[in-house]
C-alpha cells in the first residue's frame, strides 16, 4: 500500500536503474496524529452548559406589594438554608416551608410557630417522590395529572411534540385549576445550588407561578426557632 511499484513492463534498457520498491513509513505520521487527537479530545467541551431562564419582578415598590397578595390558600413559601463544611463546600441544603399565612406566637424576641415544616431536596427514589418534590407535587396535582394525560397522547403519537408543549403551557396557566404560588425565600447563607434546586422543582412540578423573595423578620424568627435549624447551626455560634 505504501510502496510505489515501479513499472516492470517494457524492455530493460541498458544501464537502467535497478528496480526497487519505495516504502514510506507512516509510523511518525500516526504518532503525530494520535498526539493531536489526544490534544483535541482533552481540550474540547463535549457537554455544553444548559440554562435555566428566570424572570424576576422589577424593583418597583408597587409590584413588591402585589407579591404579598398571593392567595393565601394557594401560597407555598419555601425558605432555603444551607450548611457548609470546614472547606466551604456545601454540606446540606434544607427547606423550611409553610402554606398560606403562618401561625406564630411572639414572646419577647422569640417567635415560635406550629405551621413551619422542614424538608429536603431529595428528588425521586425509584418511582417514589420524596421530600419537597412530593409536597409540591401534591399541591399541583390537578395540573400534573392533565399534563400527564397530554404526555401520554404524545407518547402514543396522537399529537406532535409542539402540540404537547402548547397544551402543557395552557394547562400550566389555566386559572380554573388550583395551582400553587410558590415564594422562594433563600436565607443569606443559602447556597446558589439550593436556589437552583428550588427553581428546578418548579420546572419538574409544572408550577408556573413562582417568585424569589426576601425572608421577612417573622420568617427568620420562625426558622431560627426550629430544632432542625438549631441543630444544623449549633457549631456556627461558637
Amino acid at each position: 500500500m505504501a510502496q510505489i511499484e515501479q513499472s516492470s513492463g517494457g524492455k530493460q534498457k541498458k544501464g537502467a536503474q535497478k528496480k526497487m520498491s519505495i516504502h514510506v513509513d507512516f509510523t511518525p505520521m500516526v504518532d503525530m496524529n494520535m498526539l493531536l487527537i489526544t490534544f483535541f479530545m482533552l481540550c474540547t467541551t463535549m457537554i455544553k452548559s444548559q440554562t435555566l431562564s428566570i424572570s424576576l419582578p422589577t424593583n418597583e415598590k408597587v409590584q413588591q406589594e402585589d407579591l404579598q397578595k398571593a392567595k393565601e390558600s394557594e401560597a407555598v413559601t419555601l425558605i432555603l438554608d444551607t450548611t457548609y463544611d470546614e472547606n466551604g463546600g456545601v454540606k446540606d441544603n434544607t427547606v423550611y416551608y409553610y402554606f398560606g399565612q403562618p401561625l406564630f406566637e411572639k414572646s419577647g424576641d422569640k417567635i415560635t410557630s406550629s405551621s413551619i415544616m422542614v424538608s429536603k431536596f431529595e428528588g425521586n427514589v425509584g418511582k417514589e417522590l420524596k421530600g419537597i418534590r412530593q409536597i409540591l407535587h401534591n399541591r399541583n396535582e390537578e395540573v400534573l395529572r392533565q399534563v400527564e394525560e397530554q404526555k401520554d397522547k404524545w407518547r402514543n403519537k396522537q399529537i406532535t411534540e409542539e402540540q404537547f408543549q402548547e397544551a402543557a403551557k395552557k394547562i400550566r396557566n389555566n386559572s380554573e385549576l388550583t395551582r400553587p404560588v410558590v415564594i422562594i425565600k433563600p436565607l443569606n447563607n443559602a447556597s446558589w445550588e439550593s436556589v437552583i434546586a428550588a427553581l428546578d422543582e418548579m420546572q419538574i412540578n409544572q408550577i408556573s407561578r413562582y417568585q424569589i423573595g426576601i425572608p421577612s423578620p417573622e420568617d427568620l424568627g420562625m426558622v431560627e426557632a426550629t430544632p432542625e435549624y438549631q441543630k444544623a447551626h449549633a457549631n456556627d455560634k461558637q
Binding site: I37, S49, I212
Partner: protein
C-alpha cells in the same frame, strides 16, 4: 530429510490504514470542538433538568466568583460577524462606558485607542473603569495573574490592588437633566452600555431573557448573587438565564 526453509518475512507493518483513521478522527475533533473559554475563576455550576442550550452569540456572561467578584464576558453576533462580531461590540461598549463614566462622574477614565484594541481581545473583563487603562497596559500573563489571584496570594501591580478585581458596585450619584439625584454603579453602567449597543440583536436577546447568563459556583452564598440579581432588577433586566449543568441522576 529436507531442510525446512523458514521464509524470511518483513516485519514492516503498513501504517497507511491507521493513518487514515487517525486523520479522520482528528478532522472530527477539530470540527466539533469548541474551546473552553478562559475564565478568571473556575466554577462548577449547579445542575438542573432544563435542556435549553447556552447561546454562544449575543450574550453577556455574568460570572460571579464565590468571593463576590463580578466579571463580564461579552459575545457578539455570529451571523453578522463582520459588523458586529465580539471584537466590534466590545470596542463599542468600552467607548460608551468611558463616555458615560465621564458624563456621570466628571472623571476621565483615560481610555486610549490602544486600550480599545487590547480590550477587544479579552473575552472576560472585571476591573474598575478608572483602572482599566492601567490594567490593559499589562501584558496578557500579568492580566491573567492579576484576575486569578486568591486571598492568600495577593497580587499588587502598581495602582492595581487585590480589591480592584471585579466590577465595583460602589454607588455613583449623579444629577440628571431635571436635577434629580440618581444612584447607579459601574455594573449597571456596563449593562446599560451593552443594552444600548447599536447592535440591535443583543438588545433583543436581553429583552427576551436570553441575552444575560448568570454563572456561579454551586457553593456560592445567595447573598453574594443577590447583589447581582438586585442590580439587574433595578435596571429592569429582570429576565435572564442562569447557567446550569445537565442533571445526571435519573429523574
Amino acid at each position: 530429510m529436507g531442510k525446512v526453509k523458514i521464509k524470511r518475512k518483513s516485519t514492516l507493518i503498513d501504517m497507511t490504514a491507521m493513518s487514515d483513521v487517525t486523520v479522520l478522527l482528528l478532522t472530527f475533533f477539530m470540527l466539533t470542538s469548541t474551546f473552553l473559554q478562559k475564565e478568571p475563576v473556575t466554577v462548577i455550576t449547579p445542575s438542573s433538568v432544563s435542556e435549553i442550550k447556552v447561546p454562544t452569540a449575543n450574550v453577556v456572561n455574568v460570572l460571579v466568583s464565590p468571593a463576590g467578584q463580578v466579571f463580564l464576558g461579552l459575545n457578539g453576533d455570529a451571523e453578522n460577524a463582520e459588523e458586529w462580531g465580539s471584537e466590534a461590540i466590545r470596542g463599542e461598549v468600552l467607548q460608551t462606558m468611558a463616555a458615560d463614566y465621564k458624563a456621570k462622574t466628571g472623571k476621565d477614565a483615560g481610555i486610549t485607542n490602544v486600550d480599545i484594541l487590547k480590550f477587544q481581545k479579552n473575552a472576560t473583563f472585571g476591573v474598575p473603569i478608572e483602572k482599566m487603562h492601567e490594567f490593559l497596559m499589562l501584558d496578557q500573563t500579568k492580566q491573567d495573574e492579576f484576575l486569578a489571584q486568591t486571598a492568600d496570594k495577593p497580587v499588587v501591580l502598581g495602582n492595581l490592588k487585590p480589591s480592584d478585581v471585579g466590577i465595583p458596585f460602589k454607588d455613583i450619584v449623579y444629577k440628571d437633566e431635571a436635577g434629580n439625584s440618581i444612584v447607579t454603579n459601574q455594573f449597571q453602567m456596563w449593562m446599560r452600555a451593552i443594552y444600548n449597543s447599536k447592535n440591535t440583536n443583543i438588545h433583543d436577546a436581553i429583552q427576551k431573557g436570553e441575552g444575560i447568563a448568570v454563572k456561579s459556583d454551586r457553593g456560592t452564598k445567595y447573598e453574594t448573587i443577590q447583589k447581582v440579581l438586585d442590580n439587574l432588577q433595578t435596571i429592569k433586566m429582570n429576565k435572564f438565564s442562569v447557567m446550569t449543568a445537565l442533571k445526571t441522576e435519573a429523574d
